[in-house]
Amino acid sequence: MPILVGKETRAIVQGITGNQGSFHARLMLEYGTKIVAGVTPGKGGTKLQDVPVYDTVATAKDETNADSSVIFVPSPYAKEAAMEAMDAALNPVVIITEGIPARDEMVIMRYAREHSTVIVGPNTPGVITPGQSKLGIMPGNVFRPGSVGLASRSGTLTYEIAASLTHAGIGQSTCLGIGGDPIVGLSFVDVLKMFREDSGTESLVLIGEIGGTAEEDAAKYIADTRYPKPVVAYVAGKAAPPGKRMGHAGAIITGSEGTADNKIRSLVAAGVRVAEIPSGIPELLVRKVQAVR
């Protein structure tokens, strides 16, 4: 049993006729994802790759019995796109869009609490359950089915580490990006809770970066609950200067908060092995799993 997405997932793509939306809708379909509908206001009644396009999320859901959404809508319109998906009771809602104002994200997350919707992202590569389904933009070929759950704040670094796991013969249960923005939906702690209940996940990889306290919060949760599954981690940004935004809106050290050193210290204190370099993850994982057994 994977988390968030699986073989049965029936997704719509919001913004399916845009550049990114149409390109990735095709790749998701090729991967085996059930993309049952697309939504672009004004393009209702057309088709894209045999996928019917609707003007509104509500009609798309009624006609196709969709259960989740992937959003590629440009940032000025992303807030309403997310609300429209939640009003139609789609869950999870994966927001790929980058560059959404933080204030809009706060409204999205408040709406999500009211609707009990799981939001992945924004500014995320999405979610993939290897061999079953992907709601996102990650290259499917670097992932293999297996029992390692992976959660990350970054896109390409996730592919890098997933590829090294796959290369080492270690497959993954579900991999997801929680998003590179300061305000995101699912947190590391939420993901840890989901993987805890998932019988298909035996161990976990967390990929953190500078900014905020998501890694420290995860460390606290792991320590407080004596987390039952082995967790290893990598944290990017050890050489990042304070006060500078490193690409992601959320990757910034503010005052004394958000340094890589603090995150690594917190994780290590919680019993998480932290790799010094990305390629160190597979070996750490093997050792950690063996130590537990």
Partner: protein, 377 residues
Amino acid sequence: MKLFEFEAKNLASNLGIATPRGAVASSAEEARDIHKRLGGAVVVKAQVLVAGRGKAGGIKFALKPEETFDRAKEMLGSFIKGENVRKVLIEQKLPVKKELYISIAEDRMNKCQTVLASRQGGIDIEEVARTHPEEIARRHMDPVYGIRGYEARDLALNLGYGGQQLNMISDLLTNLYRLSVIYDCELVESNPLVETQDGRFLAADLRMIIDDNSLFRHPEFQERSKEPGAELTPLEAKARENNLAFVELDGDIGIIGNGAGLVMATIDLVKYYGGQPANFCDVGGGAAADRVASALGIIQSSDKVRTVLVNILAGITRCDEVAKGILDVKKVVGLKKPLVVRMVGTNEEEGRRLLETAGIKPLIHMEDAARLAAKGA
């Protein structure tokens, strides 16, 4: 994007937030004239974006216009924490009774704006949080309903005010919150917020940071956000014009990669192997040849760069496009520095073939590439 104090105060005054009387000057003569107009004692404040200028000599008092002239002369053109002072703000000196702290800041954990208010103002709030956490009142703002009158009054009570002053503080808080909403602020901070001896409240200092992601709906800031100067180095400004995420660092190894996390990890690796990165440069997902070319062009134009490391893990990005970008630079202006390329993923073979024809041999593992670049290639 950070605003200068005088810019923040102009926006605040327009919303009815009281600030000390004053004006901004670019020369010592102007500063002296402003003092003459204001009369009394003044404070001369260096306009820089870094925090903590007071301890670095960026805030001085002056009793006479000639003194103001001297202080302004010293400050203008000097450097405060590495930042060039180009303007000074001359303001009337306030009859201070008490210094308070108020901020409205993006709260990642609670996914909202959070107001912090403290009776201990004028000093580093992180220090107060460490030593006297009970001295800081917090209130999470609902992103839909905003600040409600009773919430503002509750904070005013926490600051120790009643009667007429309770309403004055709660109006002030409401206006500061409006300021934060109207301009999509990551941070609005008044430290200190001053209570004068006659019982009024003024934002003696004011910092505002605008959420860069909201700039599309703030045409008033769009030109300002691309200016080189206090916040951006000339190289960073040039990169921003080309829509590259770019941060200049101290070292001599230029770094280009796709994806913020991967580039950060690349920088860490170069340091791990003993090298010093010269920059962070993310060409982003799906980067086409021209983006790679402009990144490489900007980085090799810097005199301090001795080696350039390109690290591409192609998912949506295509290796052949990356190779074309590198070859464009080679053809048009030439490769001016030793180049290390690590490139794997989509269309790897075609990209590899293109580079190898031009005598560049891309590597497979980012560790190998970082190690080679750290040695100076």
